[in-house]
Symmetry: C2
Subunit: 238 residues, 2 copies
């Protein structure tokens, strides 16, 4: 079994991935707070910004799924600087030192959010246009991932996660946007599995959305390069 | 006369720009060390990472030329984090607070240096491929510049400066690379003037090189968008 470390494993996305991956991978969980998960015994409290602590946590790991960070798009500079910029450097550098060969980085659609504001259909090969300092911090993470791939050969997959809901049995439809941007729990797990398993692509930037009829982000590269085949469509939940 | 603030004005590029711009602009100089320049009286010592200090320095300024930062491509993470990432945030946020309408950011060809390592002719609309943590910090600055332009309407010009030599009367030819990447003093001044003066482009990423016969970075967008017309060619100095 492959070993998979999830950082920020206490969060909403972490909880879903733990359930979705635990039967097929040896999971290790880390977060800055304690996690109580009866199904996973390998749990370590650590600070993702500390390369030293994270190098310990990364030992023996095949793939890191890096979720740790501040998730709020309205975050201040000091918050994203600490949690997202320093934290993402921390995990990549620790992964390198520990010999990890693969990092899956939870980026965000907000790295390119200004295209959406201008109703521009967005492909992953377009330059970043962050819509927030949070989005800038995610664009930074993608550039760092590219550097660690080019320089050190660490396979890296940047997932620009769309709209993830803790409960995805119903669409929380405060606006119609979610019909375009929704990522179901099942498709999230599928996408991450593709990144863990692919032998085809070594680096990629992929929008993380379901097979939404109204999608305005292009996921063709995820289909072609890593075999991502989402099965849910927000349209079906209306 | 337009007012122009130069950050990092004590450095090699700063010295050349001071001479090249002082006759046509009201210059203000800032750096973390004292500058003695008999031709410029408006000099302020300040820390570019301090938004508060830089807001004072930015008051009444039409255009900022942001040169401050660590210039060494081999810099450690902590150095580029402080000098380049925090420093570039500091100047953009200060410019916004002070009402500055235009920022010219000294980026670097190292934001895309991995294309060069793979002998790929590079255009400014290609995704970043930094060749160093220094290059990552410059790619970060470009994404931040884009955000300040999109969100706050601050015109921003990112100059991926090539090979600048303190003495450019002769080519310091430790390798042939400089025949492709050279930026003469005169062309540097021309490029920055184009950014200060253009009414055409509001945001752009431009490689900062002379009209080198052997160039492997595309400067067509600088010619078209801001009227940059370099007159020197490294070939002529062989």
């Amino acid at each position: 079994m492959k070993s998979v470390l999830i950082t920020g494993a206490a969060g909403n996305i972490g909880r879903v991935l733990r359930r979705g991956l635990r039967d097929d991978y040896l999971l290790r969980l880390t977060d800055c707070i304690q996690i109580v998960d009866p199904e996973v015994t390998d749990v370590q409290v650590a600070d993702v910004r500390s390369v030293e602590e994270m190098e310990e946590v990364c030992k023996g790991i095949d793939s890191v799924v890096h979720l740790a960070g501040e998730p709020s798009t309205g975050s201040s500079w000091s918050v994203v600087l600490n949690a997202n910029i320093e934290g993402t450097y921390g995990i990549f550098e620790a992964a390198r030192l520990a010999g990890v060969k693969r990092v899956i980085f939870a980026s965000s659609n907000h790295a390119t959010g200004y295209y959406e504001k201008e109703s521009i259909y967005t492909k992953p090969d377009m330059l970043a246009r962050p819509d927030s300092l949070y989005g800038v911090s995610k664009a930074f993470g993608e550039d760092l991932a590219r550097f660690y791939y080019d320089e050190y050969g660490i396979n890296a997959y940047c997932l620009r996660i769309g709209s993830f809901q803790p409960d995805d049995s119903v669409i929380n439809r405060s606006s119609d946007r979610i019909l375009s941007t929704w990522l179901s729990h099942r498709d999230l797990v599928r996408l991450v599995r593709c990144c863990i398993e692919t032998n085809n692509a070594e680096f990629g930037i992929y929008y993380g959305i379901s097979n939404n009829t109204r999608a305005f982000w292009d996921i063709e590269n995820a289909r072609e390069e890593i075999g991502y085949s989402p099965e849910d469509d927000a349209e079906d939940l209306i």
